[in-house]
């Protein structure tokens, strides 16, 4: 039963013969209400899958944009319980769009892994990306499986062919290819190199492959979407929040700016 929403979504993308758009926002950024209004509107704007960041005080793999977004959320009272509540609220009106929680291990550790997985499943979460948990650290594998969630592993340009089988062995849902050596939102990879890497990963797994880190514009998304099963955009979206915080009616401005970019990205992928 695991990963039903995720695999159903990739099946549909395949039948529509297009690459999917995965949007990343941080739960509770800049505040719960605004963040919920963005989350709820993402599918209609063109998101095929949703990555929801779990705010953490020390996001070591993230660049300035997502660091700032995490801190905004935490400052306004975000926590793990609220993140799950946001998913549950989203699920009241959307039973189809996969939601993947992405973050770091310590908040899950503090929550209690078993309890967290069970609560996440109940809230309507489909999968989990834990950035600082490589396949060598196996402790979440059992709780994730018990709850019926997909554990999505990251692969990187540094992940050699000798290591890839080990990384994808326990992967569920899809494989996430980090297209640059670097933190989020800082540089962009050349499409040719990414294509070669995606082909290399395909030789090791039948799972769909999503490409992220460093994709900011509709043109870049369209280019990567030619060969990847999905493209992930994060820093560019959360930067829209930062840019619209100080005007009049920031909640609506942030929402409209994020959703506007999501529409453009989705348009790029469909054309």
């Amino acid at each position: 039963m695991s990963g039903t929403r995720i695999s159903a979504r990739f099946d549909r993308l395949k039948s529509e013969n297009r690459s999917g758009l995965v949007t990343f926002i941080t739960a509770g950024d800049p505040d719960r209400g605004t963040s919920q209004s963005i989350l709820d509107a993402l599918p209609e704007a063109g998101a095929d899958l949703i990555e929801l960041g779990m705010p953490f005080s020390d996001p070591m793999a993230d660049g300035p944009a997502i660091q700032a977004s995490s801190l905004r959320a935490l400052k306004n009272g975000a926590n793990m319980k609220q993140t799950l509540e946001m998913v549950a609220s989203f699920r009241k009106n959307d039973g189809q769009t996969p939601v993947i929680l992405m973050g770091y291990y310590n908040p899950i550790h503090a929550y209690g892994p078993e309890k967290f997985m069970a609560d996440a499943k109940r809230a309507g979460v489909d999968g989990l990306i834990v950035v600082d948990l490589p396949p060598e650290e196996t402790e979440l594998r059992q709780p994730v499986e018990a709850a019926g969630l997909d554990f999505i592993y990251l692969t990187a340009p540094t992940t050699g062919d000798d290591r890839l089988p080990h990384v994808v062995e326990h992967a569920g849902g899809f494989v996430y290819y980090v297209s640059i050596t670097g933190i989020t939102g800082t540089k962009s990879a050349k499409a040719g190199a990414v294509e070669t890497a995606v082909e290399r990963i395909r030789r090791h797994t039948g799972l769909p492959i999503a490409v992220g880190f460093g994709i900011r514009t509709p043109a870049q998304a369209a280019e990567i979407g030619k060969f990847a099963d999905a493209v992930v955009v994060g820093s560019a979206l959360v930067s829209r929040i930062e840019e619209n915080l100080n005007g009049d009616g920031p909640a609506a401005a942030c929402r409209d700016a994020v959703l506007g970019l999501v529409r453009d990205l989705a348009g790029g992928l469909k054309s």
Binding site: P55, F56, S57, D58, P59, M60, A61, G63, Q67, L74, N79, M80, Y104, Y105, N106, P107, I108, H109, A110, Y111, V131, D132, L133, P134, E136, E137, Y153, L154, T155, A156, P157, T158, T159, G160, R163, V167, V178, I180, T181, G182, I183, T186, K187
Partner: protein, 404 residues
């Protein structure tokens, strides 16, 4: 928990000390960390590498450092017989260079051209900049902007040595944030860069490797005290930031049953104020910077800021081996407040003519608490992890604010 046959064998092959340690890093770094581990294992078993390291430790660092009987301090405290292990006499003024010398030779062996490091007090940054100058390697040191202010002399030293000091403004602008930014740098520069971690933290193999390079402190101490006194010490004392000077002093003695081992954390303004850096006394197990250990954190798993007058102890975690030694009960972990450390700084300076680093002053402060109740034949060794020149300004400001 049952007592193991030995406390010295750890970690297991994946870097776990009991449930602590491990390798909690992003996939991009994982292959690099495995490379470092492989290279370290090879180097450790290569007699030529060991000979080269030993030669630099002697002729460049100035080892062995003396074991010094602090007679006036002993007399003033009126109890245990107190020795200092003089790591403050190392080149660059602290124990940090023992580790830097080992790791820089490893980095060279791995063919790396660029070295990055994090620093709190600046002692590790200075030691790193020094060995980079020695071998002509590029050096970038990440340092929290708060620390840049309170350890200005060390910032100047690093720059003179040719290092670039990058101020870290994220988070609390102290050591943990410097480590975050160093890790972020490393993810982006994997090809030519070596991350020279300054304490027994980070992912495996760092906690083990740094411990091994610092164990020269305890090994020398064991030989020296046996030469001078004909026996092992009764008590060992060391301060704890990440825990490298402490584990270096302790590790060779862990299986010596009669030796009482005490590590001193910084309780800042007091545990009850919440403004402290006592991860073992007041933290909970969690995962940060590549390993599982005790951390200062809130109920949601967000890391909280550490506070200590001493920049080198201002870290919300502790090396994973210490977490294990704590749980298993082999080492006692106590804590000392800012005011007590400053008092000990003055006591040591006036009684012995030795200005201790504020970090080391925490160990002296605990000695001052327990030594008076111990008999004169009780042998106590304090690890004088560094010298205090870098702290004169901080201490001056503190004393002025206190009106003394």
């Amino acid at each position: 928990m049952t007592k193991p046959n030995t406390y010295q064998r750890g970690p297991d092959s994946d870097g776990h000390f009991g449930i602590y340690g491990g390798r909690y890093v992003a996939e991009t770094l994982m292959p690099l960390i495995l490379d470092v581990e492989r290279a370290y294992d090879e180097a450790r078993n290569d007699p030529a590498f060991r000979a080269e390291l030993s030669s630099y430790l002697t002729s460049y660092v100035g080892r062995p450092t003396p074991l010094y009987l602090a007679e006036r301090l002993t007399e003033q405290l009126g109890g245990a017989r107190i020795y200092f292990k003089r790591e403050d006499l190392n080149h660059t003024g602290a124990h940090k260079i023992n580790n830097c010398m080992g790791q820089i030779l490893l980095a060279k062996r791995m063919g790396k051209r660029r070295i990055i490091a994090e620093t709190g007090a600046g002692q590790h940054g200075v030691a790193t900049a020094t060995v980079c100058a020695l071998f002509g390697l590029e050096c970038v040191v990440y340092m929290g902007e708060v620390d840049i202010e309170r350890q200005a002399p060390n910032v100047f030293r690093m720059k003179m040595l040719g290092a670039e000091v990058r101020p870290v403004t994220s988070g609390s602008g102290t050591l943990k944030d410097a480590m975050n930014d160093a890790l972020r740098d490393w993810v982006a520069t994997v090809d030519d860069t070596y991350y020279l971690i300054g304490t027994v933290a980070g992912p495996h193999p760092y906690p083990t490797m740094v411990r091994d390079y610092q164990s020269v402190i305890g090994e020398e101490t064991k030989t020296q005290i046996n030469e001078i006194e004909g026996r092992n010490p009764d008590t060992l004392l060391a301060c704890i930031g990440g825990g490298s000077n402490a584990i270096g002093m302790f590790h060779p003695f862990l299986d010596d049953d009669g030796v009482r081992i005490i590590a001193v954390e910084a309780s800042g303004e007091g545990i009850e104020t919440g403004r402290h850096a006592a991860s073992l006394t007041a933290g909970e197990p969690g995962v940060l910077h590549g390993n599982r250990t005790y951390l200062l954190q809130d109920g949601d798993g967000q890391i909280t800021e550490a506070h200590s007058i001493s920049a080198g102890l201002d870290y919300p975690g502790i090396g994973p081996e210490h977490a294990w030694l704590h749980d298993i009960g082999r080492v006692e972990y106590v804590s000392i407040r800012d005011d007590e450390a400053v008092d000990a700084f003055q006591l040591c300076t006036e009684a012995e003519g030795i200005i201790p680093a504020l970090e080391s002053a925490h160990a002296v402060a605990h000695a001052a608490k327990i030594a008076p109740d111990l008999p004169p034949d009780h042998l106590m060794v304090i690890n004088m992890s560094g010298r205090g020149d870098k702290d004169l300004e901080s201490v001056g400001a503190y004393l002025k604010a206190r009106g003394s």
